[in-house]
């Protein structure tokens, strides 16, 4: 406690510094006077007495200083003095201050914005209990397999699976589709979520024929249940059945990857699921037992895979379950992009710092005279360095603060631009870690980049500087050389960024110009799902589909067709198949193709060109010979050496007599899973010939002559005139789906492009500043040259030659740097080599032009130097 009281006394002294000084002053004066009187009494004259007293007393200033130092605030007073002085100097030159702060604010702001995204996405833990224990199995699995793994595992403490399906919910103002998570009992427990109201399903209820129970999301509870605190026990109508609500999830709960508003037991909803081992559609999450490593769990999983494969060779022969930590699985795709962006934005900061340092050096040279005088008057070197550093720290801290504002604005911009992959992790905000980041980089910037000018200040040779009274001392030439190096590196770094951005832009334009295989213009899509209760059998489904298409196609100016899954919609079903006449393949080892059912003039509506053979006709229907249309990739991969028309294929694993389908046509490839994804082999079949009653869903493709505003409502009206309880969802323009599929690439390109432009501007400002300063310094020399007969052209050449040398060096080292660095972004590039020569050349020319233009402005000023004025200069 003593030290606390001592600290209080020290602080109180700090608060009352002025009083302290006055008191000490008075005390010393009294002492002197008393001593003087004593001497007078001993018979000295007044003058002698005063002199004796002073002599005895010694250096009063020294004494006062010692007394003050005793309180331990010397550093603080010096600092306060430096800050005060620094602030005054900065106020005196608002232009310099504004440019320096703005430069740093741009650099720090951009870094902070990107860092806050990285912080939210890569660094923050997932919002689940012990998130590090959570893993996913990359491959989807079936319910019986999930249950077997749960029984056999020695590595997992919990686990469960989910499949999100859209189901219609009756009870809102119009029939809506809600996303229903079909889960098993272990799923919610694995994520460790506690319901906000009520409870979650128990193992006794997750059984065949169990009660229909539902757990709802907070969002559903607020929107459809009126935030009723007694919602547990209510009944809701879901997919034609009544479910009893037993629990409400907390608002903070969100699924890691999927989105669902209601959770019901898969086993209860779909009693057959317990036996359908080969329907792998559940995405599964697992929790490692404490102390179990990922490798151990993977080994255990491999053993389970082997046992399942032996036990169920027909379905599980090729089983291979790969475990991935949940966090890694979630951020895997965006990590590379974010790290490249962070690297890029770090380079922007470097350029900003180089400009900052360059400004400070100019400043240090300008203030050299003052520093020299201070040094001559006895200011210590350390103190001078501290003073210069304080000034740069002051600037960098202000820059950091302003950068924080930029970052706040930049983050909201990022959030507006963010692609789907970032959207699912929405924890992007400023937290203490981000603030700490800003503080650290601001202070580091201030110290590291304030060092060079401070060093120049400390090195100033007092005597020499005073003699030369100003012009071109060693300090200033040295300063000039350092600035040249700084500007050269700025240009080099800017070139690296420009190359990165150029590569992304090129890749993106390649991607955009990719032919998706269909014409997206003027096509609207929407998703429908038929309820099981009324459309359980295929004939009922076919009748509805046919009737709907007839009605829609009678609307003026529209052509409508339907397909199970629309390209770029994110889904497709894959089936294994067998080709007639080929040597039999082991069961479970047959090749897989994308399987799409269509009705109406689908290829015509989507404008997917027919290559060989014929299109489906209305005659290819139930009771007629089974037909199929395949894509070119299918032919390339499986039928390369024969005429595909007439080849017979069937789905593998069919029971009963083989259902052979005859290939009647080949259509062009469609980029179904994304423009940057390879095309999969695909088989199209007529909806009316399907024997899969579970395919109750379809996506309408509506081509309108022009985008009629009321079209969507008109189509919905037609659907509901057929059946008022069919929910319609995912209404999108096909162009919009293409834009969404490009979002991540667009995001990368926009950001890196923005950084590159920032870098270009900063580098241009940097070289402009350096050249302008150099011209200013050489005004005298240029004046003499002009007076001696140099032409304006010669002066221009003189200045531009200096600038061009810097530009050339900068670009050369930038190209070397870019060659080394762009490899790191190879994964972000689409069909562009990281060393693409055209990009390198184009970018180098752009940078050279901009930099030379920046040199030209001061060079022109040099040309106009009036020799008379110049010679009188100073």
């Amino acid at each position: 406690m003593d030290w606390l009281r001592e600290l209080a006394r020290r602080l109180s002294m700090l608060m009352h510094r002025r009083q302290f000084d006055a008191d000490l002053e008075e005390e010393v004066r009294l002492h002197l006077e008393l001593r003087q009187e004593e001497r007078l009494e001993s018979g000295m004259t007044a003058n002698e007495a005063r002199a004796a007293a002073r002599r005895r007393f010694g250096n009063a200033t020294y004494l006062k200083e010692e007394s003050r130092i005793a309180w331990g605030w010397e550093w603080f007073e010096n600092l306060a003095q430096d800050v005060h002085h620094g602030a005054r100097m900065l106020r005196k030159s608002p232009g310099f201050t504004a440019v320096a702060i703005l430069t740093l604010a741009l650099g720090i702001g951009a870094n902070t914005a990107i860092f806050s995204v990285i912080n939210g996405v890569l660094l923050s833990p997932l919002p689940y209990k012990n998130p590090k224990q959570l893993v996913v199995i990359k491959e989807n699995d079936s319910l019986p397999n999930v249950m077997d793994i749960q029984r056999q595992t020695r590595a997992f403490s919990q686990g469960g699976g989910i499949n999100v399906e859209k189901m219609d919910y009756i009870g809102a103002t119009e029939p809506v589709q809600v996303r229903v998570g079909l889960i098993d009992e272990g799923f919610l427990e694995t994520l460790g979520v506690q319901p906000m109201l009520g409870r979650i399903i128990s193992s006794g209820e997750d059984v065949q024929g169990g009660p229909r129970l539902a757990m709802v999301s907070n969002h559903f509870w607020q929107n459809y249940l009126g935030s009723d605190p007694h919602a547990a026990g209510n009944t809701i109508q879901l997919g034609g059945n009544s479910y009893t609500v037993i629990g409400v999830m907390p608002a903070s709960f969100a699924l890691p990857a999927e989105h669902a508003d209601v959770f019901v037991s898969l086993m209860v909803r779909d009693p057959g699921a317990g036996a359908e081992r080969d329907l792998h559609f559940m995405h599964t999450y697992w929790r490692l037992k404490a102390g179990v490593t990922l490798a151990q769990a993977q080994a255990d999983m491999a053993a389970i895979d082997r046992r399942l494969a032996e036990q169920y060779p027909a379905e599980e022969k090729e089983r291979k379950s790969q475990l991935v930590p949940l966090h890694e699985w979630l951020v895997g795709d965006v990590r590379a992009a974010l790290l490249v962006l962070f690297g890029a934005v770090g380079l922007v900061l470097l350029i900003a710092c180089a400009n900052f340092a360059s400004l400070l050096m100019m400043r240090a040279v300008a203030e050299r005279q003052e520093l020299v005088i201070r040094a001559a008057l006895g200011a210590g070197r350390g103190r001078l360095v501290r003073k210069t550093l304080t000034q740069s720290l002051l600037l960098s801290v202000f820059g950091g603060a302003a950068g924080l504002l930029f970052a706040k604005w930049g983050t909201s911009l990022l959030l507006a631009l963010r692609p789907e992959e970032l959207a699912r992790l929405s924890g992007i905000h400023m937290d203490t870690r981000v603030l700490l980041f800003v503080l650290v980089i601001s202070v580091l910037t201030g110290i590291v980049f304030g060092m060079a000018p401070a060093w120049i200040a400390a090195r100033s040779d007092v005597a020499e500087a005073l003699k030369k009274s100003g012009r071109s001392t060693t300090a200033s030439t040295m300063g000039h050389n350092i600035r040249k190096i700084l500007v050269t590196s700025e240009l080099a770094v800017a070139l690296v960024l420009l190359v990165g951005a150029g590569l992304l832009i090129k890749g993106f334009s390649r991607l955009r110009s990719m032919n998706p295989g269909f014409n997206s213009a003027n096509v609207m899509t929407m998703y429908l799902q038929l309820p099981t209760t009324r459309y359980g059998e295929i004939p009922k489904q076919t009748q509805f589909r046919r009737e709907l298409l007839t009605r829609l196609n009678s609307l003026p100016g529209v052509q409508v067709a339907m397909v199970t899954d629309i390209p770029l919609g994110g889904n497709y079903v894959g089936h294994r198949f067998v080709i007639d006449g080929r040597s039999p393949v082991a069961v479970g080892g047959e090749p897989k193709v994308q399987t799409l059912s269509v009705m109406g003039d689908y290829f015509h509506v989507m404008q997917i060109p027919l290559r060989v053979g014929r299109d489906f006709t209305p005659l290819d229907r139930e009771e007629q010979p089974l037909v199929a249309v395949v894509n070119e990739e299918m032919v390339r991969e499986f039928l390369p050496h024969e005429n595909p028309i007439g080849v017979r294929i069937r789905w593998a694993g069919d029971t009963g007599p083989p259902q052979w389908m005859t290939v009647i046509g080949v259509v062009a490839d469609v980029k179904h899973s994304g423009l940057n994804q390879p095309t999969d082999p695909a088989v199209y079949t007529p909806f009316s010939q399907s024997d899969e009653a579970w395919r109750r869903f379809m996506t309408l493709a509506i081509r309108a002559r022009d985008a009629a505003p009321g079209l969507v409502e008109e189509v919905k009206k037609q659907i509901w005139s057929l059946d008022s309880q069919i929910p319609v969802s995912d209404v999108h323009a096909m162009d919009e789906l293409i834009a969404v599929s490009l979002a991540q690439q667009r995001f990368n390109m926009l950001l890196l492009g923005l950084f590159a432009v920032l870098a270009l501007i900063l580098a241009a400002v940097g070289i402009y500043g350096a050249m302008a300063y150099a011209v200013n310094q050489r005004t005298h020399e240029i004046g003499i040259r002009t007076a001696l007969g140099a032409q304006r052209r010669d002066v221009l050449r003189l200045v531009m030659r200096d600038g061009a040398k810097i530009v050339l060096f900068g670009i050369a080292s930038g190209i070397a740097g870019a060659l080394a660095l762009t490899r790191l972004m190879a994964s972000l590039l689409f069909e562009v080599k990281p060393t693409d020569p055209a990009t390198f050349a184009g970018v180098a020319i752009l940078l050279a032009l901009v930099a030379l233009a920046a040199c030209y402005i001061p060079a022109r000023r040099a040309m106009r130097v009036d020799p008379m004025v110049a010679l009188r200069y100073e």
């Binding site: 001592e6 006394r9 009294l30 002492h31 010694g58 010692e66 005793a70 309180w71």
Partner: protein
Amino acid sequence: MHRDEIPPGTLYLLILRTLARSGEMHGYEIASSIQQISEDVLRVEEGSLYPALQRMLIKGWVTAKWGTTAGNRRARYYQLTAAGRKQLAVEMSQFDRVIGAITRVIEAV
């Protein structure tokens, strides 16, 4: 006349002891008092007296308050605190121990 320097480390002891004897004093009085009582042998340098007083203020051994001298002038008077008294005892026993030890060394045969 020859004056001896105050042995290092005993300045606090001297100030504390002087204040303990006479209640409150200002800086000049403390210096004079030490000089008088030591019969002009010990002379306190002003250059060390005032910083020492500041350090003692920080430690909380003394407090200071403004008062008036006999000659009706404003002066800062220092006074011992409880902590100061305790410190005085500590310094005294330390001093005794050292002096005793030195004496024993010198007088040993």
